[in-house]
Symmetry: C2
Subunit: 379 residues, 2 copies
């Protein structure tokens, strides 16, 4: 998106105020709206455009469908010195997830390791947000989430049985930016298929399959398999069976187990039949958050120094293409972050119109452009 | 292997005695040899032929090269109620890893979650062994390991910078066999490339690349890139950049961090230059072991029941090919296990000759066939 000339650009602070205004108009507590907007804007700053402000469109749909409780406050249901189970109250995932990783961080600082599970939640934005938060606190962070959006087809199956079930892992460093891996366990997120469709490009063979396991490359057709049809969808990481897609399928199941069965949330594959799903209007999505203190194992700084050495070595590795240096997980996001903090966040015109309409429907002011937003020149 | 007619077949108990005899002749303590042989035979029973008795060939090479301390006993260096750091003393990884996962299980039963890191270790067999041990104790288990064997090429790089860095995850169930995911984070293990070579089959495009990132399909050439040459090697899971191989690369780095930097072991990429590597004759491989008690989060049995429901649903999912039902991670291994417990473990003739020669060089009896092995009719 950054490279598209002429796109409207919005400063992070202005985007933050706009999101807060909409969330508050939807009834969200000020504290929760601030935290949610912070996580969303941070996601746009890091270039993960599919999981930031664009999600307002989906959140509005879910709110109107009664699937989202924006007045919810998370509650801790069970707790030990190294574990906790949290109920997100049917609200958006960002605030309870920030609370959950902060709780895991606090426990792991005292004890060495901790895991917090969250249920009755909803979309939590970019998984990397929470893993990175642990790394910025000097700890290793791991998180993953389920979702109601069934779109990933297990190896050998006709129908989608999982969401894109992302995993994020971050680790602290001394000289480098933290290592941040944030990935769907599918070959691609559905947003990448949408991008092919928006740009009239074919979908690379192996991203999407039909109900017979055949690659679908027509973008419109691929989108139908991902979003509308029961059969077919996105492939698990690996892509095709000969390229070990059963591993991506296994990782999707692992993330589902840690997110859903561990917390007692609802598995998307049984949402049609699970009596618990019928008893609640909410999506009841689960997440997990692990924090791990390297100082429980190593002298202070040794972990960070040795990780720095590995990251340096990887970045200095001879590249196949001299013009494309070898990257480390998180590098593209850090590059976006540094540029967008200064230059602002580019927003497609269509997205700006969506935000304007969402604000109007919510009874919130439109703040992305014009004097009403205050003295931010980049706005 | 099972389907090859006429292969010699050895009962698990007899193979166990043979491995114990060799390990003991190499100087290993009886207790450690018993545990190591148990893990190795269990791996063969589960059909993971690349990681069981065949590894004796590699272990003998490392022993002769002085890289392996078979008289070693593991020692706990640091410990808290939920963490521990163990030094494996330069020995084989199986015994310290069994001790490490058992320690993690005991701690997690009391506290809810625990992580044990191991350094100064060596090959630990199949990662699934340790994750499954946690699941059989009613806990979730997660493990991973590094290795000195550099063979996996980061996306965009010319040279191999990681080992196949496996992850294993297992979870307890009530009605089903435990869920056991045990996978290299590369597209395939090097053993699969060897299998193409042994059977004069081309290597599927995308498994192995040369130093320019081009697919290598000639099996002999592929083997050179995996085992002998600095440039090229196995691709990370995903295979090609367009199929998101950067995710497999990220997972390999994640497992390296949790295994190597967390424990203070030696990263294979710096083994040539790390002063610590020069100061020890041993490989100094690291592993990690996480145990997590679902009862810290859920009422007793709820996790297992809901996981059973998901596994049932996956196995009953409409398959692309009616003759090939949808599988769940661990299913192929359980099928092998049930058959081989009864029918014995098939061993290629070449492997039997290797074991005979290894036994002779060690001064151990050859026990796989003949009366010397005792009254086991399957032997």
């Amino acid at each position: 998106m950054d490279t598209s000339p002429g796109l409207p650009v919005v400063a992070a602070e202005r985007l933050h105020r706009q999101i807060v205004a909409i969330l508050a108009a939807w009834g969200m507590d000020a504290e929760i709206a601030e935290a949610t907007a912070g996580a969303m804007v941070d996601t746009d700053l890091r270039g993960i455009d599919s999981h930031g402000v664009t999600m307002l469109i989906i959140y509005e749909e879910r709110l109107r469908a009664g699937r989202l409780a924006l007045r919810a406050r998370p509650a801790i249901l069970r707790e030990t010195p190294v574990t906790a189970l949290m109920d997100a109250g049917g609200g958006l995932g960002h605030f309870p997830s920030l609370a959950a990783i902060d709780l895991a961080i606090a426990k792991a600082r005292r004890m060495g390791v901790a895991l917090v599970a969250v249920r009755n939640s909803n979309h939590y934005g970019a998984a990397g947000t929470y893993a990175l938060r642990a790394a910025e606190a000097g700890l290793i962070g791991v998180t993953g989430t389920g979702s109601r959006t069934r779109c990933v087809v297990p190896t050998g199956a006709r129908n989608a049985m999982f969401a894109t079930n992302p995993i994020a892992f971050a680790a602290p460093t001394r000289r480098n930016r933290p290592f941040v891996l944030d990935m769907a366990t599918s070959t691609v997120a559905v947003g990448k298929v949408n991008l092919c469709w928006l740009n009239d490009r074919p979908v690379p063979a192996g991203w999407v399959v039909d109900g017979a396991g055949r690659p679908v490359t027509d973008a419109e057709e691929a989108r139908q398999f991902c979003l509308r049809r029961v059969e077919g969808g996105v492939t698990p990481l690996g892509g095709l069976p000969a390229m070990a897609s059963h591993k991506g399928y296994g990782l999707a199941a692992m993330i589902e187990i840690l997110s859903t069965q561990l917390s007692g949330a609802i598995y998307c594959g049984t949402a049609d039949t699970d009596p618990r799903a019928k008893a609640t209007p909410y999506d009841d999505v689960g997440h997990f958050f692990l924090a791990l203190d390297p100082r429980a194992f190593r002298p202070d700084g040794a972990f960070e120094d040795e990780l720095d050495q590995m990251l340096d070595l990887l970045r200095r590795a001879p590249p196949v293409d001299p013009a494309q240096p070898v990257l480390v997980a998180g590098d593209p996001e850090w590059a976006h972050y540094d540029r967008r903090r200064v230059e602002g966040i580019p927003m497609p015109v269509k997205l700006v119109h969506h935000v304007r309409a969402i604000a109007a429907r919510a009874g919130a002011p439109f703040l992305l452009f014009g004097q009403a937003a205050g003295p931010h020149p980049l706005g």
